[in-house]
Point group: C2
Chain length 299, copies 2
């Protein structure tokens, strides 16, 4: 029986773990891989104190800090959280009991929702740019999505290949001005008002059939790599019965103490309805959740 099980090993989960350890709670952290979206993020420039650091490097620093404490960690996927007298956290192969839980699973990438999209995953359709970027050396790349992630990916891809376009469904880009400027400087082709309707190819992606939203006309583009960067969804399957979700599918928390509707179950980071999905915000939320869990357990 643990005092606390933390589900998720990203910035929120690991920070919660550090805080729980310092409060001497008997703590287990379960995470599929202790990498998560932050670990796949490419260059990060807005973690205070680090002008420029790779996501993987930052996450490794967090994990090393965590590992300096007596916190148990397990690389497994949680499939269900139940509450009877205590919490029962079930992974694919095991189950663990605890008096409190912090849910910090984060998010996973949104897909375009095209029927053929699944067939091309690993064959030209990419969700984790940092993971697969080097495979597209001198290839034709389209990045889908005009937010920060899309622009960051397009800029990154420019160091692998000169043929990089960024496609955005809306008529405006929502990325930071600085990123938009950088992309223009680097010569990323920016295309707005465009919708991808089909992906074609024999074995690998070869072209995309698009709709020009302003004219209504169809347009084809030859492409080798289609990098989908259109946002993400909260990973909540294992706790759906224990929490309320907002219309975005995010866990609703009390923003002061990170409580969910189930007593003893706290949530933190990008899986929650916190508005700003930022590493520095998620770490702060992780600390808050751990301090609330500690307060709950002390009662």
């Amino acid at each position: 029986m643990y005092d606390l099980i933390i589900i998720g090993g990203g910035p929120a989960g690991v920070t919660a773990g550090i805080y729980a350890a310092r409060k001497k709670l008997k703590t287990l952290i379960i995470s599929k891989n202790f990498i998560g979206q932050a670990g796949e993020a490419g260059v990060i420039e807005n973690w205070p104190g680090e002008k420029s650091i790779l996501g993987a490097e930052l996450i490794a620093k967090f994990k090393e800090h965590l590992d300096s404490y007596a916190v148990e960690t397990r690389e497994e996927t949680v499939v269900l959280v139940e509450k009877k007298e205590s919490f029962n956290v079930k992974t694919e192969d095991n189950s663990f009991l605890s008096r409190a839980v912090i849910f910090a699973t984060g998010r996973k990438p949104k897909t375009l929702g095209l029927p053929e999209e699944k067939d091309f995953v690993g064959k030209g359709v990419v969700y984790c740019a940092t993971c697969d970027a080097p495979l597209f050396q001198n290839k034709r790349v389209i990045v889908v999505g005009g937010g920060n992630a899309g622009f960051e990916t397009a800029i990154e891809m420019k160091s692998y290949t000169k043929d990089v376009s960024l496609f955005e469904f809306n008529s405006f880009f929502s990325a930071d001005e600085l990123l938009q400027e950088k992309a223009k400087e680097k010569g990323v082709e920016l295309v707005r008002d465009i919708k991808i309707e089909n992906i074609k190819g024999e074995n690998f992606v070869e072209k995309v059939i698009c709709r020009d939203i302003t004219t209504g006309k169809e347009k084809d583009f030859q492409v080798d790599g289609l990098f989908i960067q259109i946002g993400s969804v909260a990973i909540t399957d294992s706790v759906k019965n224990l929490v309320d979700l907002n219309e975005e599918g995010e866990v609703i928390i009390d923003p002061k103490k990170n409580k969910t509707k189930t007593e003893g179950l706290f949530a933190a980071g990008d899986v929650t309805d916190v508005r700003d999905k930022q590493i520095v915000v998620a770490t702060g939320e992780g600390a808050k959740a751990a301090l609330s869990a500690y307060e709950y357990l002390k009662k």
Copy 2:
């Protein structure tokens, strides 16, 4: 006319500055000294990614990160914030205009409230342990306060002198278990249920007159350094007219977007009613406030 003036150069203010710069807001940060409570904090072990770092070092890293952007900074003390059509931020010598303000002044130490206390400041009465610790080499030290700050100070003082006691008014210590254990290991004398009623000394502190709360009896202790670590109060004088304060004197914010009751005036960090006064929480709040200010200015 600035887009944004950030008042305060601690973790919340500097993080807000980094985020504002990345959004290309014309930003000015005004802070007395860009040090604040975090910069005076001694060893910090709960900033994610750093197993152990001096407060001054961490704050310097934050500042260096900030200085890599085109953000203007000024070392001045803000005395009043007014709002007419825009904000007018007045320092002792100057005044600056902006369309939005983030208030992130943080906190200052609480005093015991004894009439003679002021007379002994710099003469044995210490609020910033990190600043003055080396002055008490081989002296008799009493640390007042059984929270994290008190225990951290007592542990730190043990490396300067063997004669360290920690006094707590309550019958329990509220510090992290880990810190309490460390203090015991180091041989800090722990005294509960004790109240300091007078400070005596010719030029410098020589003794304190205390009351044992359980027996009601008076007790004297010879002492050279009295380190007051009993908490802090929010620094709000310059914005009192523009915000609501809670009963602790903290700026009440909407926890999702860091708004105050005055449109265009946001607040972040330890000056607000955020429950957990932690560096990692304050940085997250700074980021949130900057993103909200950006959203407000874009309208």
